[in-house]
Protein backbone atom coordinates (compact mmCIF):
# COMPACT_ATOMS: atom_id res chain seq x y z
CA UNK A 1 0.00 0.00 0.00
CA UNK A 2 1.45 3.34 -1.05
CA UNK A 3 1.74 6.41 1.12
CA UNK A 4 -0.93 8.16 -0.94
CA UNK A 5 -3.53 5.47 -0.38
CA UNK A 6 -2.61 5.29 3.33
CA UNK A 7 -3.15 9.04 3.59
CA UNK A 8 -6.46 8.70 1.75
CA UNK A 9 -7.55 6.04 4.18
CA UNK A 10 -6.58 8.15 7.19
CA UNK A 11 -8.50 11.09 5.72
CA UNK A 12 -11.54 8.87 5.22
CA UNK A 13 -11.46 7.75 8.86
CA UNK A 14 -10.96 11.31 10.04
CA UNK A 15 -13.97 12.42 8.04
CA UNK A 16 -16.16 9.56 9.25
CA UNK A 17 -15.19 10.01 12.89
CA UNK A 18 -15.70 13.78 12.78
CA UNK A 19 -19.12 13.20 11.25
CA UNK A 20 -20.05 10.62 13.87
CA UNK A 21 -18.93 13.02 16.62
CA UNK A 22 -21.15 15.76 15.17
CA UNK A 23 -24.08 13.35 15.29
CA UNK A 24 -23.45 12.38 18.91
CA UNK A 25 -22.32 15.67 20.53
CA UNK A 26 -25.73 17.40 20.54
CA UNK A 27 -27.30 14.37 22.21
CA UNK A 28 -24.48 14.05 24.71
CA UNK A 29 -24.79 17.75 25.50
CA UNK A 30 -28.51 17.26 26.09
CA UNK A 31 -27.75 14.48 28.56
CA UNK A 32 -25.00 16.42 30.39
CA UNK A 33 -27.06 19.60 30.64
CA UNK A 34 -30.03 17.69 32.04
CA UNK A 35 -27.99 16.88 35.19
CA UNK A 36 -26.67 20.42 35.74
CA UNK A 37 -28.00 23.27 37.80
CA UNK A 38 -29.02 26.43 35.96
CA UNK A 39 -25.90 28.13 37.35
CA UNK A 40 -23.65 25.37 36.02
CA UNK A 41 -25.32 25.38 32.61
CA UNK A 42 -24.86 29.13 32.21
CA UNK A 43 -21.36 29.41 33.65
CA UNK A 44 -19.05 30.60 30.90
CA UNK A 45 -15.88 31.31 32.82
CA UNK A 46 -14.97 28.61 33.72
CA UNK A 47 -17.03 26.72 31.16
CA UNK A 48 -18.60 23.69 32.84
CA UNK A 49 -18.60 20.48 30.80
CA UNK A 50 -19.61 18.01 33.50
CA UNK A 51 -22.06 18.63 36.34
CA UNK A 52 -20.27 18.76 39.72
CA UNK A 53 -22.86 16.36 41.13
CA UNK A 54 -25.10 14.17 38.97
CA UNK A 55 -28.41 15.36 40.34
CA UNK A 56 -31.81 14.27 39.19
CA UNK A 57 -33.64 17.39 40.43
CA UNK A 58 -34.46 18.53 36.91
CA UNK A 59 -36.05 15.19 36.15
CA UNK A 60 -38.10 15.18 39.35
CA UNK A 61 -39.37 18.70 38.68
CA UNK A 62 -40.27 17.99 35.05
CA UNK A 63 -41.97 14.73 36.01
CA UNK A 64 -43.94 16.41 38.81
CA UNK A 65 -45.15 19.30 36.70
CA UNK A 66 -46.24 17.21 33.71
CA UNK A 67 -48.08 13.99 32.96
CA UNK A 68 -45.28 11.94 31.44
CA UNK A 69 -46.91 8.58 32.21
CA UNK A 70 -49.93 9.72 30.17
CA UNK A 71 -47.65 10.91 27.34
CA UNK A 72 -45.88 7.52 27.23
CA UNK A 73 -49.18 5.62 27.19
CA UNK A 74 -50.75 7.92 24.58
CA UNK A 75 -47.72 7.77 22.33
CA UNK A 76 -47.49 4.01 22.66
CA UNK A 77 -51.19 3.43 21.92
CA UNK A 78 -51.08 5.82 18.97
CA UNK A 79 -48.13 3.90 17.54
CA UNK A 80 -49.63 0.50 18.34
CA UNK A 81 -52.99 1.07 16.67
CA UNK A 82 -51.48 2.83 13.67
CA UNK A 83 -49.07 -0.07 13.13
CA UNK A 84 -51.86 -2.64 13.53
CA UNK A 85 -54.24 -0.91 11.12
CA UNK A 86 -51.68 0.07 8.50
CA UNK A 87 -50.05 -3.39 8.43
CA UNK A 88 -53.36 -5.22 8.15
CA UNK A 89 -55.14 -3.00 5.62
CA UNK A 90 -52.05 -2.19 3.57
CA UNK A 91 -51.05 -5.84 3.26
CA UNK A 92 -54.56 -6.76 2.08
CA UNK A 93 -54.71 -3.99 -0.52
CA UNK A 94 -51.08 -4.45 -1.56
CA UNK A 95 -51.62 -8.13 -2.33
CA UNK A 96 -54.71 -7.38 -4.42
CA UNK A 97 -52.90 -4.63 -6.35
CA UNK A 98 -49.83 -6.82 -6.93
CA UNK A 99 -51.48 -10.08 -7.89
CA UNK A 100 -55.22 -9.96 -8.60
CA UNK A 101 -57.02 -8.70 -11.69
CA UNK A 102 -60.26 -6.84 -11.06
CA UNK A 103 -62.14 -3.95 -12.65
CA UNK A 104 -61.02 -0.56 -11.37
CA UNK A 105 -57.64 -1.80 -10.23
CA UNK A 106 -55.53 0.75 -12.09
CA UNK A 107 -57.82 3.63 -11.21
CA UNK A 108 -57.79 2.71 -7.51
CA UNK A 109 -54.02 2.28 -7.48
CA UNK A 110 -53.77 5.68 -9.14
CA UNK A 111 -55.57 7.13 -6.12
CA UNK A 112 -53.00 5.46 -3.84
CA UNK A 113 -50.13 7.04 -5.80
CA UNK A 114 -51.87 10.40 -5.89
CA UNK A 115 -52.32 10.46 -2.11
CA UNK A 116 -48.56 9.99 -1.69
CA UNK A 117 -47.78 13.03 -3.81
CA UNK A 118 -50.10 15.42 -2.00
CA UNK A 119 -48.77 17.34 1.03
CA UNK A 120 -50.44 15.94 4.15
CA UNK A 121 -51.36 19.38 5.49
CA UNK A 122 -54.12 19.58 2.91
CA UNK A 123 -56.05 16.88 4.81
CA UNK A 124 -55.61 18.34 8.27
CA UNK A 125 -58.42 20.90 8.57
CA UNK A 126 -61.14 18.51 7.27
CA UNK A 127 -59.77 15.70 9.44
CA UNK A 128 -59.87 18.04 12.42
CA UNK A 129 -63.47 19.02 11.62
CA UNK A 130 -64.45 15.33 11.30
CA UNK A 131 -62.96 14.32 14.65
CA UNK A 132 -64.49 17.43 16.22
CA UNK A 133 -67.93 16.61 14.76
CA UNK A 134 -67.69 13.10 16.24
CA UNK A 135 -66.92 14.66 19.62
CA UNK A 136 -63.71 12.62 19.76
CA UNK A 137 -61.03 15.27 20.36
CA UNK A 138 -58.58 14.52 23.17
CA UNK A 139 -58.73 10.76 22.69
CA UNK A 140 -56.58 7.89 21.44
CA UNK A 141 -59.04 7.53 18.55
CA UNK A 142 -58.22 11.09 17.49
CA UNK A 143 -54.47 10.36 17.55
CA UNK A 144 -54.86 7.23 15.42
CA UNK A 145 -57.45 8.75 13.06
CA UNK A 146 -55.27 9.99 10.12
CA UNK A 147 -53.31 6.70 10.23
CA UNK A 148 -56.10 4.13 9.94
CA UNK A 149 -55.02 3.37 6.39
CA UNK A 150 -51.73 4.04 4.63
CA UNK A 151 -51.22 4.76 0.94
CA UNK A 152 -47.46 4.62 1.50
CA UNK A 153 -47.78 1.23 3.21
CA UNK A 154 -49.91 -0.12 0.37
CA UNK A 155 -47.33 1.05 -2.14
CA UNK A 156 -44.38 -0.30 -0.15
CA UNK A 157 -45.87 -3.75 0.47
CA UNK A 158 -47.02 -4.04 -3.15
CA UNK A 159 -43.34 -3.81 -4.13
CA UNK A 160 -42.56 -6.70 -1.80
CA UNK A 161 -45.41 -8.85 -3.17
CA UNK A 162 -44.30 -8.12 -6.73
CA UNK A 163 -40.88 -9.54 -5.88
CA UNK A 164 -42.27 -12.98 -4.87
CA UNK A 165 -42.32 -15.81 -7.44
CA UNK A 166 -45.70 -16.65 -9.01
CA UNK A 167 -45.13 -20.40 -8.74
CA UNK A 168 -45.95 -20.22 -5.02
CA UNK A 169 -49.52 -19.14 -5.72
CA UNK A 170 -50.02 -21.78 -8.37
CA UNK A 171 -48.80 -24.46 -5.98
CA UNK A 172 -51.10 -23.32 -3.19
CA UNK A 173 -54.01 -23.19 -5.65
CA UNK A 174 -53.33 -26.82 -6.55
CA UNK A 175 -53.36 -27.63 -2.85
CA UNK A 176 -56.91 -26.29 -2.74
CA UNK A 177 -56.33 -22.89 -1.11
CA UNK A 178 -58.70 -20.09 -2.09
CA UNK A 179 -57.36 -16.59 -2.74
CA UNK A 180 -57.79 -15.50 0.87
CA UNK A 181 -55.93 -18.53 2.20
CA UNK A 182 -53.16 -18.11 -0.36
CA UNK A 183 -52.73 -14.49 0.71
CA UNK A 184 -52.85 -15.11 4.44
CA UNK A 185 -51.02 -18.42 4.77
CA UNK A 186 -48.58 -18.48 1.85
CA UNK A 187 -47.80 -14.98 0.64
CA UNK A 188 -48.08 -12.79 3.76
CA UNK A 189 -45.44 -14.66 5.81
CA UNK A 190 -42.99 -14.20 2.94
CA UNK A 191 -43.22 -10.39 3.08
CA UNK A 192 -41.99 -10.32 6.68
CA UNK A 193 -39.15 -7.90 5.96
CA UNK A 194 -41.61 -5.57 4.22
CA UNK A 195 -43.97 -5.71 7.19
CA UNK A 196 -41.10 -4.96 9.56
CA UNK A 197 -40.03 -2.00 7.41
CA UNK A 198 -43.57 -0.62 7.30
CA UNK A 199 -43.99 -1.14 11.05
CA UNK A 200 -40.82 0.85 11.71
CA UNK A 201 -41.80 3.64 9.32
CA UNK A 202 -45.26 3.87 10.88
CA UNK A 203 -43.88 3.88 14.41
CA UNK A 204 -41.31 6.59 13.62
CA UNK A 205 -43.84 8.73 11.81
CA UNK A 206 -46.33 8.51 14.68
CA UNK A 207 -43.65 9.17 17.30
CA UNK A 208 -42.26 12.20 15.47
CA UNK A 209 -45.55 13.75 14.34
CA UNK A 210 -46.13 16.97 16.25
CA UNK A 211 -48.72 19.04 14.38
CA UNK A 212 -51.64 16.61 14.49
CA UNK A 213 -51.47 15.83 18.24
CA UNK A 214 -50.86 19.50 18.96
CA UNK A 215 -54.07 20.43 17.13
CA UNK A 216 -56.40 17.59 18.02
CA UNK A 217 -55.43 16.68 21.58
CA UNK A 218 -55.19 19.97 23.40
CA UNK A 219 -55.90 18.78 26.94
CA UNK A 220 -52.87 18.24 29.17
CA UNK A 221 -53.59 14.53 29.75
CA UNK A 222 -54.06 13.58 26.10
CA UNK A 223 -50.81 14.89 24.60
CA UNK A 224 -48.14 12.69 23.02
CA UNK A 225 -44.43 13.02 23.82
CA UNK A 226 -43.83 15.24 20.78
CA UNK A 227 -46.73 17.61 21.37
CA UNK A 228 -46.06 17.69 25.12
CA UNK A 229 -42.49 18.86 24.45
CA UNK A 230 -43.83 21.78 22.43
CA UNK A 231 -46.03 22.80 25.35
CA UNK A 232 -43.28 22.26 27.92
CA UNK A 233 -40.96 24.50 25.92
CA UNK A 234 -43.43 27.37 25.93
CA UNK A 235 -44.04 26.85 29.67
CA UNK A 236 -40.40 26.80 30.87
CA UNK A 237 -38.80 28.67 28.02
CA UNK A 238 -35.30 29.37 29.34
CA UNK A 239 -34.61 26.81 32.05
CA UNK A 240 -32.44 24.69 29.78
CA UNK A 241 -31.48 21.97 32.26
CA UNK A 242 -35.18 21.24 32.78
CA UNK A 243 -35.88 21.41 29.04
CA UNK A 244 -33.05 18.97 28.37
CA UNK A 245 -34.41 16.63 31.05
CA UNK A 246 -37.78 16.73 29.26
CA UNK A 247 -36.08 15.96 25.94
CA UNK A 248 -34.23 13.03 27.46
CA UNK A 249 -37.48 11.71 28.89
CA UNK A 250 -39.09 11.89 25.44
CA UNK A 251 -36.08 10.45 23.65
CA UNK A 252 -34.96 7.43 25.68
CA UNK A 253 -37.75 4.95 24.85
CA UNK A 254 -37.19 5.25 21.11
CA UNK A 255 -33.40 5.15 21.57
CA UNK A 256 -33.75 1.95 23.60
CA UNK A 257 -35.96 0.34 20.92
CA UNK A 258 -33.46 1.45 18.29
CA UNK A 259 -30.47 0.02 20.13
CA UNK A 260 -32.24 -3.32 20.61
CA UNK A 261 -33.60 -3.55 17.05
CA UNK A 262 -30.94 -1.57 15.17
CA UNK A 263 -30.44 -4.31 12.59
CA UNK A 264 -34.16 -4.39 11.76
CA UNK A 265 -34.32 -0.59 11.74
CA UNK A 266 -31.48 -0.01 9.35
CA UNK A 267 -32.10 -3.02 7.12
CA UNK A 268 -35.86 -2.50 7.07
CA UNK A 269 -35.38 1.04 5.88
CA UNK A 270 -32.63 0.08 3.47
CA UNK A 271 -34.87 -2.57 1.91
CA UNK A 272 -37.59 0.00 1.20
CA UNK A 273 -35.36 2.37 -0.72
CA UNK A 274 -35.29 3.23 -4.37
CA UNK A 275 -38.59 1.56 -5.05
CA UNK A 276 -40.38 4.43 -6.70
Amino acid sequence: MGIASKAAKAAAYLFLITGAALMIIPLLWMLLTSFKTVAESTSMNPFVFFPSVWRVDNYTRVLNQNHFSAYYVNTFLMMFFRILCSLLFSAMAAYAFARLQFPGRNFLFGIVLFQMMVPTQIFIIPQYLMVDALGMRNSIFALVFPGFVSAFGTFLLRQFFLGLPRELEEASKLDGCNIGQTFLLVMLPLTRSGLVALGIFTALFAYKDMMWPLIINTSAQSATLASALAKIQSAISVNYPELMAASVLAFWPMLLVYIVFQKQFVEGIASSGGKL
Binding site: F15, L16, A20, M23, I25, P26, L27, W29, M30, M44, F47, F89, M92, A93, A96, F97, L100, Q101, F102, L108, I111, V112, Q115, M117, V118, P119, T120, Q121, I122, F123, I124, I125, P126, L129, M130, F148, V149, T154, I179, F183, L204, M210, M211, L225, A230, Q233, Y240, L243, M244, A246, S247, A250, M254, Y258, Q262, V266, A270, G273, G274, L276
Partner: protein
Protein backbone atom coordinates in the same frame (compact mmCIF):
# COMPACT_ATOMS: atom_id res chain seq x y z
CA UNK B 1 -77.19 -24.81 -14.53
CA UNK B 2 -79.53 -22.73 -16.69
CA UNK B 3 -78.88 -19.67 -14.54
CA UNK B 4 -75.14 -20.19 -14.68
CA UNK B 5 -75.02 -19.53 -18.41
CA UNK B 6 -76.54 -16.10 -18.09
CA UNK B 7 -73.53 -14.90 -16.08
CA UNK B 8 -71.17 -13.64 -18.72
CA UNK B 9 -68.19 -13.59 -16.42
CA UNK B 10 -66.77 -17.03 -15.58
CA UNK B 11 -67.10 -18.02 -11.96
CA UNK B 12 -63.33 -18.06 -11.35
CA UNK B 13 -62.97 -14.54 -12.66
CA UNK B 14 -65.88 -13.32 -10.55
CA UNK B 15 -64.28 -14.94 -7.58
CA UNK B 16 -61.05 -13.06 -8.18
CA UNK B 17 -62.86 -9.74 -8.69
CA UNK B 18 -64.73 -10.18 -5.42
CA UNK B 19 -61.53 -10.99 -3.53
CA UNK B 20 -59.80 -8.02 -5.15
CA UNK B 21 -62.55 -5.59 -4.20
CA UNK B 22 -62.82 -7.07 -0.72
CA UNK B 23 -59.08 -6.78 -0.06
CA UNK B 24 -58.73 -3.17 -1.26
CA UNK B 25 -62.02 -2.04 0.32
CA UNK B 26 -60.74 -0.95 3.77
CA UNK B 27 -57.82 0.99 2.32
CA UNK B 28 -59.84 2.63 -0.44
CA UNK B 29 -62.68 3.54 1.92
CA UNK B 30 -60.16 4.99 4.36
CA UNK B 31 -58.37 6.98 1.64
CA UNK B 32 -61.74 8.27 0.39
CA UNK B 33 -62.83 9.52 3.82
CA UNK B 34 -59.46 10.63 5.18
CA UNK B 35 -57.81 12.02 2.05
CA UNK B 36 -59.88 12.35 -1.12
CA UNK B 37 -62.95 14.04 0.35
CA UNK B 38 -60.72 16.32 2.51
CA UNK B 39 -58.93 17.60 -0.60
CA UNK B 40 -62.24 18.83 -2.00
CA UNK B 41 -63.28 20.15 1.41
CA UNK B 42 -60.06 22.13 1.67
CA UNK B 43 -60.58 23.55 -1.81
CA UNK B 44 -64.17 24.44 -0.84
CA UNK B 45 -63.14 25.94 2.51
CA UNK B 46 -60.59 28.13 0.76
CA UNK B 47 -63.53 30.05 -0.73
CA UNK B 48 -64.76 31.09 2.72
CA UNK B 49 -63.73 33.42 5.47
CA UNK B 50 -64.18 31.27 8.54
CA UNK B 51 -64.86 32.04 12.17
CA UNK B 52 -63.98 29.79 15.10
CA UNK B 53 -64.07 26.06 14.27
CA UNK B 54 -65.74 26.52 10.92
CA UNK B 55 -68.86 28.15 12.37
CA UNK B 56 -70.10 31.34 10.82
CA UNK B 57 -68.45 30.76 7.45
CA UNK B 58 -68.84 33.56 4.99
CA UNK B 59 -68.51 32.99 1.26
CA UNK B 60 -65.80 35.22 -0.24
CA UNK B 61 -65.23 33.54 -3.61
CA UNK B 62 -61.61 33.92 -4.64
CA UNK B 63 -61.16 36.58 -1.94
CA UNK B 64 -58.70 34.44 0.03
CA UNK B 65 -56.58 33.95 -3.08
CA UNK B 66 -56.60 37.68 -3.85
CA UNK B 67 -55.52 38.31 -0.28
CA UNK B 68 -52.85 35.63 -0.62
CA UNK B 69 -51.35 37.18 -3.75
CA UNK B 70 -51.21 40.60 -2.08
CA UNK B 71 -49.83 39.21 1.21
CA UNK B 72 -46.09 39.89 1.45
CA UNK B 73 -45.78 37.37 4.29
CA UNK B 74 -47.01 34.56 2.03
CA UNK B 75 -44.33 35.37 -0.54
CA UNK B 76 -41.71 35.51 2.20
CA UNK B 77 -42.89 32.07 3.27
CA UNK B 78 -42.65 30.78 -0.31
CA UNK B 79 -39.11 32.16 -0.59
CA UNK B 80 -38.11 30.77 2.82
CA UNK B 81 -39.52 27.34 2.04
CA UNK B 82 -37.75 27.19 -1.33
CA UNK B 83 -34.50 28.50 0.15
CA UNK B 84 -34.68 25.91 2.93
CA UNK B 85 -35.19 23.20 0.30
CA UNK B 86 -32.30 24.50 -1.79
CA UNK B 87 -30.02 24.49 1.27
CA UNK B 88 -31.05 21.12 2.71
CA UNK B 89 -31.55 18.89 -0.32
CA UNK B 90 -28.22 19.18 -2.19
CA UNK B 91 -26.10 19.32 0.98
CA UNK B 92 -27.81 16.42 2.73
CA UNK B 93 -27.78 14.24 -0.39
CA UNK B 94 -24.14 15.06 -1.23
CA UNK B 95 -23.03 14.40 2.34
CA UNK B 96 -25.05 11.17 2.42
CA UNK B 97 -23.43 10.08 -0.82
CA UNK B 98 -19.87 10.84 0.35
CA UNK B 99 -20.34 8.98 3.63
CA UNK B 100 -22.06 6.06 1.90
CA UNK B 101 -19.17 5.73 -0.57
CA UNK B 102 -16.61 5.86 2.25
CA UNK B 103 -18.51 3.24 4.26
CA UNK B 104 -18.83 1.04 1.18
CA UNK B 105 -15.02 1.04 0.82
CA UNK B 106 -12.64 -1.04 2.87
CA UNK B 107 -13.22 0.65 6.23
CA UNK B 108 -13.70 -1.13 9.53
CA UNK B 109 -16.81 -0.57 11.63
CA UNK B 110 -19.22 0.16 8.79
CA UNK B 111 -22.22 -0.98 10.80
CA UNK B 112 -21.23 1.08 13.86
CA UNK B 113 -20.92 4.23 11.77
CA UNK B 114 -24.20 3.43 10.05
CA UNK B 115 -25.94 3.01 13.40
CA UNK B 116 -24.57 6.32 14.72
CA UNK B 117 -25.39 8.36 11.62
CA UNK B 118 -28.95 7.08 11.71
CA UNK B 119 -29.64 8.15 15.34
CA UNK B 120 -30.99 11.67 14.58
CA UNK B 121 -33.64 10.02 12.40
CA UNK B 122 -35.21 8.31 15.42
CA UNK B 123 -35.36 11.46 17.58
CA UNK B 124 -38.55 13.51 17.66
CA UNK B 125 -37.99 16.89 15.97
CA UNK B 126 -39.43 18.56 19.05
CA UNK B 127 -36.63 17.12 21.21
CA UNK B 128 -33.99 17.71 18.55
CA UNK B 129 -34.92 21.36 18.18
CA UNK B 130 -34.86 21.97 21.92
CA UNK B 131 -31.33 20.60 22.03
CA UNK B 132 -30.20 22.70 19.08
CA UNK B 133 -31.85 25.81 20.50
CA UNK B 134 -29.69 25.26 23.55
CA UNK B 135 -26.55 24.69 21.43
CA UNK B 136 -27.43 27.86 19.49
CA UNK B 137 -28.04 29.94 22.63
CA UNK B 138 -26.22 33.27 22.01
CA UNK B 139 -24.78 33.67 25.54
CA UNK B 140 -24.47 30.18 26.98
CA UNK B 141 -24.60 27.88 23.96
CA UNK B 142 -21.86 25.38 23.22
CA UNK B 143 -21.45 26.55 19.62
CA UNK B 144 -20.80 30.19 20.47
CA UNK B 145 -18.47 29.08 23.27
CA UNK B 146 -16.38 27.14 20.75
CA UNK B 147 -16.46 30.08 18.32
CA UNK B 148 -15.21 32.54 20.95
CA UNK B 149 -12.49 30.08 22.03
CA UNK B 150 -11.34 30.06 18.40
CA UNK B 151 -11.28 33.85 18.47
CA UNK B 152 -14.37 34.27 16.31
CA UNK B 153 -17.38 36.47 16.95
CA UNK B 154 -20.43 34.86 18.53
CA UNK B 155 -23.46 34.53 16.24
CA UNK B 156 -27.11 35.19 17.10
CA UNK B 157 -28.15 31.88 15.56
CA UNK B 158 -31.87 32.00 16.29
CA UNK B 159 -32.68 35.70 16.28
CA UNK B 160 -30.57 37.19 13.49
CA UNK B 161 -32.81 37.38 10.39
CA UNK B 162 -29.75 36.79 8.17
CA UNK B 163 -28.82 33.59 9.99
CA UNK B 164 -32.07 32.04 11.22
CA UNK B 165 -32.85 30.02 8.12
CA UNK B 166 -29.29 28.70 7.95
CA UNK B 167 -29.51 27.53 11.57
CA UNK B 168 -32.79 25.76 10.75
CA UNK B 169 -31.30 24.18 7.63
CA UNK B 170 -28.36 22.83 9.63
CA UNK B 171 -30.82 21.02 11.91
CA UNK B 172 -32.64 19.76 8.82
CA UNK B 173 -29.43 18.38 7.30
CA UNK B 174 -28.32 16.87 10.60
CA UNK B 175 -31.68 15.12 10.96
CA UNK B 176 -32.20 13.75 7.46
CA UNK B 177 -28.87 12.79 5.98
CA UNK B 178 -28.44 9.55 7.96
CA UNK B 179 -31.65 8.24 6.43
CA UNK B 180 -30.50 9.12 2.92
CA UNK B 181 -27.11 7.58 3.63
CA UNK B 182 -28.65 4.25 4.68
CA UNK B 183 -30.66 4.11 1.45
CA UNK B 184 -27.66 5.01 -0.73
CA UNK B 185 -25.33 2.60 1.08
CA UNK B 186 -27.81 -0.25 0.51
CA UNK B 187 -27.88 0.61 -3.17
CA UNK B 188 -24.05 0.80 -3.38
CA UNK B 189 -23.72 -2.58 -1.72
CA UNK B 190 -25.80 -4.11 -4.51
CA UNK B 191 -23.30 -3.12 -7.21
CA UNK B 192 -21.46 -6.32 -8.22
CA UNK B 193 -17.73 -6.31 -7.37
CA UNK B 194 -16.79 -7.42 -10.92
CA UNK B 195 -17.91 -4.04 -12.25
CA UNK B 196 -15.11 -2.43 -10.25
CA UNK B 197 -12.62 -5.15 -11.10
CA UNK B 198 -13.38 -4.75 -14.80
CA UNK B 199 -12.79 -1.00 -14.62
CA UNK B 200 -9.58 -1.61 -12.59
CA UNK B 201 -8.29 -3.73 -15.45
CA UNK B 202 -9.22 -0.96 -17.87
CA UNK B 203 -7.01 1.32 -15.78
CA UNK B 204 -9.72 3.67 -14.52
CA UNK B 205 -8.76 5.92 -11.60
CA UNK B 206 -10.87 5.91 -8.43
CA UNK B 207 -12.40 9.19 -9.49
CA UNK B 208 -13.30 7.90 -12.96
CA UNK B 209 -14.66 4.74 -11.40
CA UNK B 210 -16.93 6.77 -9.15
CA UNK B 211 -18.44 8.76 -11.99
CA UNK B 212 -18.51 6.01 -14.63
CA UNK B 213 -19.46 2.94 -12.57
CA UNK B 214 -20.90 4.01 -9.24
CA UNK B 215 -23.05 7.04 -9.95
CA UNK B 216 -25.01 5.66 -12.93
CA UNK B 217 -25.85 2.48 -11.02
CA UNK B 218 -27.27 4.30 -8.01
CA UNK B 219 -29.29 6.87 -9.95
CA UNK B 220 -32.64 5.16 -9.20
CA UNK B 221 -31.99 5.38 -5.45
CA UNK B 222 -30.54 8.85 -5.85
CA UNK B 223 -33.73 9.90 -7.61
CA UNK B 224 -35.87 8.38 -4.84
CA UNK B 225 -33.79 10.19 -2.21
CA UNK B 226 -34.08 13.51 -4.07
CA UNK B 227 -37.84 13.25 -4.52
CA UNK B 228 -38.58 12.29 -0.91
CA UNK B 229 -36.16 14.85 0.57
CA UNK B 230 -37.59 17.65 -1.57
CA UNK B 231 -41.19 16.84 -0.65
CA UNK B 232 -40.25 16.66 3.04
CA UNK B 233 -38.31 19.91 2.93
CA UNK B 234 -41.20 21.72 1.26
CA UNK B 235 -43.33 20.73 4.27
CA UNK B 236 -40.85 21.90 6.94
CA UNK B 237 -42.68 22.91 10.12
CA UNK B 238 -41.66 21.32 13.44
CA UNK B 239 -38.16 22.76 13.69
CA UNK B 240 -39.25 26.29 12.81
CA UNK B 241 -42.29 26.09 15.08
CA UNK B 242 -40.11 25.01 18.01
CA UNK B 243 -37.34 27.53 17.37
CA UNK B 244 -38.91 30.71 16.05
CA UNK B 245 -42.05 32.12 17.64
CA UNK B 246 -44.10 34.85 15.99
CA UNK B 247 -42.40 37.60 18.02
CA UNK B 248 -38.88 36.51 17.01
CA UNK B 249 -37.15 39.20 14.89
CA UNK B 250 -36.16 36.44 12.44
CA UNK B 251 -39.78 35.27 12.00
CA UNK B 252 -40.37 36.95 8.62
CA UNK B 253 -37.16 35.49 7.22
CA UNK B 254 -37.76 31.97 8.53
CA UNK B 255 -41.53 31.31 8.50
CA UNK B 256 -42.39 28.43 6.14
CA UNK B 257 -45.62 27.87 4.22
CA UNK B 258 -46.74 25.10 6.55
CA UNK B 259 -45.98 27.22 9.62
CA UNK B 260 -48.02 30.04 8.11
CA UNK B 261 -50.79 27.55 7.35
CA UNK B 262 -50.73 26.38 10.98
CA UNK B 263 -50.78 29.91 12.38
CA UNK B 264 -53.67 31.03 10.20
CA UNK B 265 -55.74 27.88 10.62
CA UNK B 266 -55.26 27.08 14.28
CA UNK B 267 -53.87 30.18 15.97
CA UNK B 268 -55.85 32.92 14.22
CA UNK B 269 -58.72 30.47 13.53
CA UNK B 270 -59.12 31.53 9.91
CA UNK B 271 -59.35 28.08 8.34
CA UNK B 272 -60.44 29.57 5.01
CA UNK B 273 -57.22 31.51 4.59
CA UNK B 274 -55.22 28.58 5.96
CA UNK B 275 -56.80 26.37 3.30
CA UNK B 276 -55.83 28.82 0.56
CA UNK B 277 -52.21 28.74 1.80
CA UNK B 278 -52.07 24.95 1.77
CA UNK B 279 -53.57 24.92 -1.76
CA UNK B 280 -50.67 27.15 -2.81
CA UNK B 281 -48.27 24.62 -1.27
CA UNK B 282 -50.02 21.82 -3.20
CA UNK B 283 -49.60 23.73 -6.46
CA UNK B 284 -45.90 24.36 -5.76
CA UNK B 285 -45.23 20.70 -4.96
CA UNK B 286 -47.12 19.60 -8.08
CA UNK B 287 -45.01 21.89 -10.26
CA UNK B 288 -41.78 20.63 -8.70
CA UNK B 289 -42.87 16.99 -9.00
CA UNK B 290 -43.76 17.52 -12.67
CA UNK B 291 -40.26 18.81 -13.43
CA UNK B 292 -38.68 16.01 -11.43
CA UNK B 293 -40.54 13.37 -13.40
CA UNK B 294 -39.45 15.05 -16.63
CA UNK B 295 -35.85 15.18 -15.44
CA UNK B 296 -36.02 11.56 -14.32
CA UNK B 297 -36.00 10.43 -17.96
CA UNK B 298 -32.81 12.44 -18.58
CA UNK B 299 -30.56 11.24 -15.79
CA UNK B 300 -31.98 8.14 -14.14
CA UNK B 301 -30.75 4.75 -15.37
CA UNK B 302 -33.04 1.81 -14.76
CA UNK B 303 -31.28 -1.47 -15.47
Amino acid sequence: MAGYKRIRVPRNTWNMWLWGWFLVAPTMLGLLILNIIPIFQTLYLSLFKSGAFGRGNQYVGIGNYERLIADAQVWHAVANTLLYTVLVVPLSVALAMIIAVLLNGKVKGTSIFRTIYFIPMIAAPAAVTMVWRWLYNPQFGLINYVLTQLGLDPVRWTTDPQVGLISISLIGIWSIFGYNMVLLLASLQEIPRDFYEASDIDGASKMQQFFIVTVPLVTPTLFFVFVTTIIQSMQVFDVIYMMIDVTNPAYERTVSLVYLFYNNSFRYMDKGYGSAIVVLLLVLIMIITYFQLKAEKKWVNYM
